[in-house]
């Protein structure tokens, strides 16, 4: 230790030590010269004799210096140079090792980055651990989380004692038209009250957030802008404050700009407007539109808060049995806003990446193991000619470190590249940004694993052989693999097994995707163009104004070439569904709590023809169903069966959302919210019979069926709309096909990621098998030579090695199948009903793994089959 310190000091003070040594040598020479002078020499002779006697001062200085230094630094550089040279000399090994490490580290780092971003990192709010969301529950109807009504929310806030503050926001974002600065843009806006900001504890980047003043009905129109939006519009956050922007043609004052990355309630929100409880909103406890976010008091635990809210839920049930008879209150950690599926997905990706890293490490171990064995000969030679063991060990360590560090750098690069891909898997339902940052902790972990793998398998075996001064290795290649070969075989087997597990996982997801894509939405998507003309109110509050607008636009559209039909609908399927309303029918279902729920649409008559929704009974809505005609409804097949099973529903009466209607027709069911999961029942009303219903439900989405390439119609349609109303904004021009396809986009993203992992794993497994067999062939060259000399056919040799490879692959598959089944059952929630034990998928995965095995085995086996006995036997 002491020696080490004095060396360290020497390194740090090297210059002064050099100086010191030079002075000492000078003094020495002087003294020798003095002695010579005493003996009577001339000064010149005395100096020469002293110099001669002293020896070469430079060499002496150098050798002294060597004693001070960690000889280390210089030797290290030498080792690094040598290590790099060795790697260059075997590019096959270098390339394989580096890519194996890079892939392993890259995948794991990227996946952990995602995991950390979504599940681990604290949410970007003050004291995020105390933030909760409050949901209403309807457990009796199988609904664990739903929105609550404004009156219920106010009661929760007034009665609860567990929270510092409680804010409310409308559960969905609204698409609004922002104009007044450049061309109009369509943006998602959140409707929140001032307590949301207080609860989250966020400060604006400029200006102010909402205050209680802004929550009051009749207060001035104000808006908060997202950071990016403010910069895009005004170039600067501070300059945005005080500006007037027009939202759906209503002037709003920008009072503040949110900080970058603020993403509440979801990252799609770009601006925020105040939630104001109008008398209309407060009139009904059945209007379920709100979610609540609250901050627990520091001394209150989650359990206590839940108990508190359970009591309140009980009181509200008794006080308002009509609406709240089955309503409970769920208190949920803010991070659990995302669905269990999203969580499962992130865990699955991480599991897959971890699996990949294990495969990569196994592969690396195998590679290094083989290499260490091959280098035994070189090491034995170097020991024989006098290399110090310590020195050899250092050099092997250096080589392993070079591989690990270069591989780690490659892995980090891959992680950075892969992160945007993984970012697609970040659930939109979480109040966090879309793109995670690469996490250094995980990189450190992955690097440590790789490093220890390369040390354990690269240096260990080589060290062993050099400790035993394995002189045998000098004489001939030791052919008996013995124990180490069995270990390597087990490693390869594990690789194949891991690959099969990943392939099964990816395969099941493929099948689930196919299934979802094969779901019949109940309407025909091809050739349908949709666009939105968000009708500004009160301009279009009068039914006549709307009727006029619809008829001008629809007549114009029908006149375009190739257009088969055109219609207006309140909200097109998949895009946005209305609230779910209880449907009661006199004499059949009178209690709204046990009544079936339906989604309502207001449509113009051609809606059914445009979307190809079949008529089962009665008639569609028609042009005659105007305000003066009897109020009618067309219901979906499933609702008909639910309310009047086995009977004719035509002419029956029903009541939904306060509307009393007579059933005139039954249409086929359609998927209204999503392809996955059971769809709600539907009720269609004629557009002209909106009656007292909020103009919120006034049709605003135009749907057109055209012969082909309907997108080319967009400019002509815009022209027609502007002829009807020059100020009307047109937005969301899309193909219905794309809207439906976007339903499966998250699944395709999941699949892409898992598929890439599985592909990499297969490749690594093939590399592993190739490496193992190549080595075996090398080790058995002599034996094969003898066999051939004794008359063994080439094909026999080929088969012998192929069989060895395939046996390993098969063993891996056998091990993997139960493992894969366990994993598949864990991800059942993602499988959309595909059996976790689907035999076809397992068959495919096994087949693919065997093909990779065969591919890996072929080259070494072929090489073995062309061994020339004359040469191999002579080498001994």
């Amino acid at each position: 230790m002491r020696e080490w310190w004095s060396k360290l000091r020497a390194v740090l003070t090297r210059d002064s030590l050099d100086e010191d040594l030079r002075a000492e040598v000078d003094a020495h020479l002087q003294m020798e010269m003095d002695a010579n002078l005493d003996r009577g020499m001339t000064p010149k002779d005395a100096l020469e004799a002293a110099r001669r006697n002293f020896g070469n001062p430079t060499i002496i200085q150098e050798s002294s210096r060597e004693a001070w230094m960690f000889h280390g630094l210089e030797t290290l550089l030498q080792d690094v140079r040598y290590g790099l040279r060795i790697l260059r000399r075997s590019p096959g090994f270098a390339l394989t090792a580096l890519s194996v490490i890079g892939l392993g580290i890259g995948a794991t780092t990227a996946a952990f980055t995602l995991l950390d971003h979504v599940l681990l990192r604290p949410l970007p709010f003050a004291h995020p651990a105390r933030l909760v969301t409050l949901y209403q529950t309807e457990l009796a109807n199988g609904v664990p989380r739903t929105q609550t009504s404004p009156p219920n929310f106010l009661d929760w806030r007034a009665m609860s004692k567990s929270f510092d503050s409680m804010g409310a926001y409308i559960s969905i974002l609204f698409s609004v038209n922002l104009s007044g600065h450049g061309s109009p843009v369509r943006l998602d806006s959140a409707v929140v009250n001032s307590d949301v900001f207080k609860t989250l504890g966020v400060r604006p980047a400029a200006g102010r957030v909402f205050t209680a003043q802004d929550d009051r009905v009749g207060a001035a129109n104000v808006v908060l802008l997202g950071n990016n939006l403010a910069i895009a519009l005004f170039g600067d956050t501070a300059r945005a404050v005080g500006q007037i922007v027009s939202l759906d043609n209503q002037a709003h004052t920008v009072i503040g700009v949110m900080p970058p990355g603020f993403a509440f309630p979801s990252r799609h929100a770009q601006l925020w407007v105040p939630l104001r409880f109008s008398p209309a909103l407060l009139s009904s406890r059945s209007n379920h539109i709100l979610f609540a976010v609250a901050r627990l008091r520091p001394e209150v635990s989650m359990q206590q808060a839940r108990a508190d809210m359970d009591v309140i839920a009980g009181q509200l049930q008794r006080a308002y049995p009509k609406d709240n008879a089955h309503s409970g209150i769920a208190v949920v950690d803010l991070r659990d806003m995302m669905s269990p599926q999203s969580r499962l997905l992130v865990l699955a990706v991480f599991g897959a990446a971890f699996c990949l890293m294990l495969i990569a490490c196994t592969n690396l171990a195998n590679l290094l193991f083989a290499r260490a064995r091959v280098r035994r000969q070189e090491i034995a030679v170097r020991i024989a000619i006098g290399a110090a063991h310590e020195r050899l060990l250092r050099q092997l360590l250096t080589e392993s470190l070079i591989v690990a560090i270069l591989g780690g750098a490659l892995g980090l690069l891959m992680a950075v590249i892969a992160t945007p891909l993984l970012a697609r898997l970040v659930p939109a339902a979480l109040p966090i940004g879309a793109t995670p940052e690469v996490d250094w902790r995980m990189f450190g972990f992955a690097a440590a694993v790789t490093l220890s793998t390369s040390l354990a398998f690269g240096v260990g075996p080589a060290l062993q052989s050099c400790r035993h001064a394995d002189l045998q290795a000098l004489r001939f290649r030791s052919p008996n693999g013995g124990r180490t070969d069995r270990l390597r075989a087990v490693l390869v087997l594990a690789e194949v097994a891991g690959t099969v597990v990943l392939l099964v996982g990816a395969g099941l997801l493929v099948k689930a995707l196919w299934r979802v894509q094969a779901v019949d939405p109940g309407f025909r998507t091809e050739g349908v163009l949709t666009l939105r003309t968000a009708l500004p109110m009160p301009k279009y509050s009068a039914p006549t104004a709307r009727r006029d607008f619809y008829s001008r636009v629809l007549t114009g559209a029908r006149g375009l070439p190739g257009v088969a039909s055109a219609a207006y609908v309140s909200y097109q399927p998949m895009e946005f569904a209305s609230g779910r309303f209880a449907v009661t029918a006199p004499g059949v279902v009178d209690d709204p709590l046990s009544a079936p729920k339906a989604i309502i649409h207001f449509v113009t008559p051609d809606f059914f023809a445009t979307l190809g929704i079949p008529l089962r009974r009665g008639r569609y809505v028609s042009d005659h169903d105007d305000e003066t005609a009897p109020f009618v409804a067309v219901i979906s097949e499933s609702l008909s069966q639910r309310l009047w099973p086995g009977q004719d529903p035509i002419g029956r009466r029903l009541n939904v959302a306060g509307l009393d209607r007579t059933v005139v027709g039954v249409a086929g069911d359609i998927a209204v919210r999503r392809l996955e999961g059971e769809s709600d029942a539907q009720i269609y009303f004629p557009s002209e019979q909106l009656g007292t219903t909020s103009t919120y439900y006034a049709p605003k989405d135009l749907v057109i069926r055209a012969s082909d390439t309907p997108l080319v119609l967009a400019p002509a349609l815009t022209k027609i709309i502007h002829e009807a109303d020059p100020e009307q904004a047109v937005s969301d021009v899309r193909l219905l096909e794309d809207i439906v396809a976007s339903q499966t986009a998250p699944r395709r993203d999941q699949l892409l990621v898992l598929g890439i992992f599985a592909a990499i794993a297969s490749l690594l497994a093939a590399v592993g098998i190739h490496g193992l067999l190549s080595f075996t062939v090398l080790a058995r060259t002599h034996e094969v030579g003898v066999r051939v000399a004794l008359g063994a056919a080439r094909s026999t040799i080929l088969r012998m090695f192929l069989r060895q490879g395939l046996a390993l692959g098969a063993a891996g598959v056998v091990v993997a199948v139960p493992l894969a089944y366990v994993v598949a059952r864990g991800m059942k929630a993602l499988l959309f009903g595909v059996e976790p034990g689907d035999p076809l998928i397992y068959g495919f995965a096994a087949l693919l793994a065997m093909v990779m095995t065969l591919a890996g085995s072929l080259r070494p086996a072929l090489r073995a089959s062309i061994i020339d006995p004359a040469i191999t036997i002579r080498t001994e």
Partner: protein, 116 residues
Amino acid sequence: MSTVDNLSDRLELLQGTLEVLILRSLALGPNHAYGISQFLRQESDHEFLVDNGSLYPALQRLLQRGWIVAQWKTSPNARRAKYYRLTPAGRKQLVVATSKWQRFVEAMGRVLASAR
């Protein structure tokens, strides 16, 4: 490297022995490198060849092990010189090394005597 004329007649020092000899020379009192080499030559009756190329590194090693310390002083004939001095640890090491060396010499002598 040394300039001593009849090299073959002199005894070359075995590795490690030089360090013991340096410790021994310093047991008499602090000395400089030149002094140490003079002392060793005289004490061994000019039998030992002390090469400066070995002496200086040996001194550095002893310094690092903490057996000796160095200090610049003025010599009796008014020259600045770096004086080396034994530390207590160095003194202990000298005792250990001396007894080890004596055992080695005795054993060596016994074996060689029996061989004759």
